[in-house]
Amino acid sequence: MPEAIRLALAIAAKDIRAELRSRTALVSALVFAALVLVIFNFARDPTALSATDLAPSALWVTFALASMVALNRAFTIERENGALDGLLVAPVSREAIFVGKLLANLAFVGTVELVTLPLFTLFFNVSLWAVLPGVLGVAALATVGFVAVGTIFSAMAVRTRFAELMLPVLLLPFMVPPLLGAVQVTTRLLAGRPLSEMLGWLRLLALYDVVFVTLCTLVFSAVVDE
């Protein structure tokens, strides 16, 4: 295994281990996601809008907001005790650090999404079993891109004033293409439409992932290096 990948995995493992020991961020992100789902259902007028019509949007807005909570934490933990400085003086390439942080964030956001899905089927009364592979696939495809952008923005946001506010302001415009695509594909999946109707969106999501993961990996050193 190439050295860079091994180092990236080590950094990701460190983050995941730290999170599993405290679990505070994970639990709060999960509770937050559940609350958003509940509010969505409660704020809907049942006589005007059926739960299934609202379901894909509710699911993805929940994912987006929960990811924001999750991403805010990614570099906050690195800030305490100057942990990031320690990581930066270690003989690790910036690309490896970025990929490591990205993988840890993906694990974190992925867990939140996986736990939210059953709650979603429960609250919105949609049956996901038949389309589960499709939903998981599009969730993965959409999540990778915006988590990459979110990782780099959260590295910046922790060094600014109003860090918790900065991340959503910067990241939300970048969530538009993945979110729009994911909602469209999920709607078609739930309606049992053929794959050909989703292909355009899936291509867009894949292209977004490739472009932004590459670009964020390349510019990460500009964020952390003095």
């Binding site: 952008v149 780099i152 923005f153 910046m156 060094r159 600014t160 004033r161 109003f162 900065m166 302001v169 910067l170 939300l172 415009p173 970048f174 538009v176 293409p177 729009l180 695509g181 469209q184 355009g200 969106w201 867009l204 292209l207 977004y208 472009v211 932004f212 670009l215 964020c216 510019v219 500009a222 964020v223 003095e226």
Partner: protein, 232 residues
Amino acid sequence: MSAPVISLEVARRITHRGLALSAAALLGLALVYVLALGYTPVEARQGLAQKIFYLHVPAAWSALLAFSLVGFASALYLWLHDPRLDRFAAASAEVGVAFSAVMLTTGPIWAKPIWGTWWTWDARLTLTLFLFFLFVGYLVLRAAVQDPSERARFSAVVGILGMLLVPFIHLSVYLFRTLHPQPIVLKPSAPSLPPEMLRTLLISFAVFTLLYVGFVTARYGLALAEEARDAA
């Protein structure tokens, strides 16, 4: 980067040059108003509402020019680390936000009588709205970072990512709309403008470009003056 000492005198000269250019452009703007109201014919279908076109389209042009230059200056900054590029990007973003505010307010004023609605989620409208948000975010970020070199690097990263986001937003909004056809909207597609209209529009383009140059120069000079003050 060891920043060379900036003289307040140079900053003042650049600011004054920018203000002079802006003043000239504002006179030009007055001319555009006169031409739009007195010289151009009244459009047959849209009536007087069409007059806003002479402000709206050039403002949109200046806003897009401003934002694309932010993207290019950001990319160059990460490569060359020249503080002038960062100062320019900051000035251009601020001016771009001002021009897009003009574009986003004149648009709905025109759209209400012509389309019958203030806003529609058309591809171009949505794209420019998100561009506006993106660059407001860019400015918020700049305001929230203290260290100048850190501020320059962070905003350059946002500038580059933002430039790449534009085609994606465009593509996704386009896909979104074509799959859900909207009622046909009347658009000012103008293949053959009467010469009076075309001339006025071209003058207005020139005026808005000059306005952009003037504003950015003045803002650049002010940024220099601020740096000189902080260094002193």
